[in-house]
């Protein structure tokens, strides 16, 4: 089988099509956010090379937007990196969750797949896969499914980021297109609220993140998550497992 054949077989696989279909509803949100991020970066005063390098390599909107003003103001490197680390720490939790699913793959593939582990692809994936497949055909299906999520997510983000960079002078940030990204994240999060306690966790995390907003380096996100998970664990311990 030629590589082209293999590729065609891959993208025609029902799991690939399912992955594209599951990721598409979030694409307008990813796209609007990509455009906004592109516009913001292009207007930041960084050079085109720097903006392009950041877009192509960093591939993490929230950390790019958090780092941008720090880079412009010439903040020390450790402040920039520590801020990005705090903003990104939630991904480490996601990676613990997804680890058993990716373990059948070899290290380079695991790391490549993990690079594509964004908020939206993660949530769509864990909604589809609750248990780790064991049969070879199912593992292959999961492999193909993840590649489809990653592909749609990555391609949408890159295309729209560069559209934003190119149209930076035409699309002012004041239009507030980034709000579509917030709405996409909101819709996806709502799909995770399948139990009452998860709704409680969401409200607690949101409230704690607002209350501790003044913390440096976006640590409020970390505080919000930790507080919400901790309280939810205490609450679900005091209930019967059936309610969770």
């Amino acid at each position: 089988m030629t590589p082209l054949h293999a590729l065609l077989q891959w993208v025609r696989h029902p799991r690939f099509i399912a992955g594209v279909r599951d990721m598409l509803p979030a694409s307008p949100g990813i796209g609007a956010w990509g455009i906004t991020t592109g516009v913001a970066l292009a207007n930041s005063g960084m050079s085109l090379v720097e903006v392009s390098a950041m877009t192509l390599m960093v591939f993490a909107g929230s950390s790019q937007l958090a780092a941008m003003p720090l880079i412009i103001s010439g903040a020390p490197l450790w402040v920039i990196w520590l801020t990005a680390l705090c903003v990104n720490l939630r991904f480490a939790v996601f990676s613990a969750h997804v680890r058993p699913f990716f373990m059948p793959f070899k290290l380079p593939k695991r790391i490549t797949y993990a690079y594509l582990l964004t908020d939206l692809s993660y949530v769509v994936f864990i909604k589809k896969y609750k248990t780790v497949p064991t049969a070879a055909a199912d593992i292959r299906g999961m492999d193909i499914y993840w590649s489809a999520l990653g592909f749609v997510n990555w391609a949408t983000w890159m295309t729209t980021s560069f559209i934003g960079i190119a149209l930076a002078s035409v699309i002012p940030l004041s239009w507030g297109l980034s709000f579509a990204g917030i709405l996409a994240l909101m819709g996806i999060s709502c799909s995770l609220v399948t139990t009452r306690l998860r709704a409680v966790a969401a409200i607690l995390a949101g409230a704690a993140a607002v209350a501790t907003y003044a913390l440096p380096m976006k640590l409020n996100i970390l505080v919000g998550v930790s507080a919400a998970v901790l309280i939810s664990l205490l609450l679900d311990r005091s209930r019967s497992p059936a309610h969770v």
Partner: protein, 118 residues
Amino acid sequence: MSEAMQAVNETDGWTLFAILGLTGITVLTRSFFMWSEEKMAIPEWFQRGLHYAPVAAMAAVIVPEVVMKNGALIDSFSDARIYGAAVGLIWYFTRGGVFGTILSGMAVYLPLHLLAGW
């Protein structure tokens, strides 16, 4: 000097180094538990925490973006975001679907934001 030249000239090694580090942080955090092949015993409390962590992480990112302005809680109802978010939420829980959530929310948000200036 052409604009393109200038763009190249403005590029400095320090910024590129910072960006390289940011790339490393993306890779490191997303792959954090993927490197080791050793059997990892995930504690029971952590497993249960995973029921709540995803939605908590999303909420911690989103909620401040909706209800805060310039680092403080909004003090006026003349803010297009809360209406856009409210309509998006109502849409999700009555009709369902992420796409509809985005469209309905933006349909309320954009006119309020662009025309009324909220």
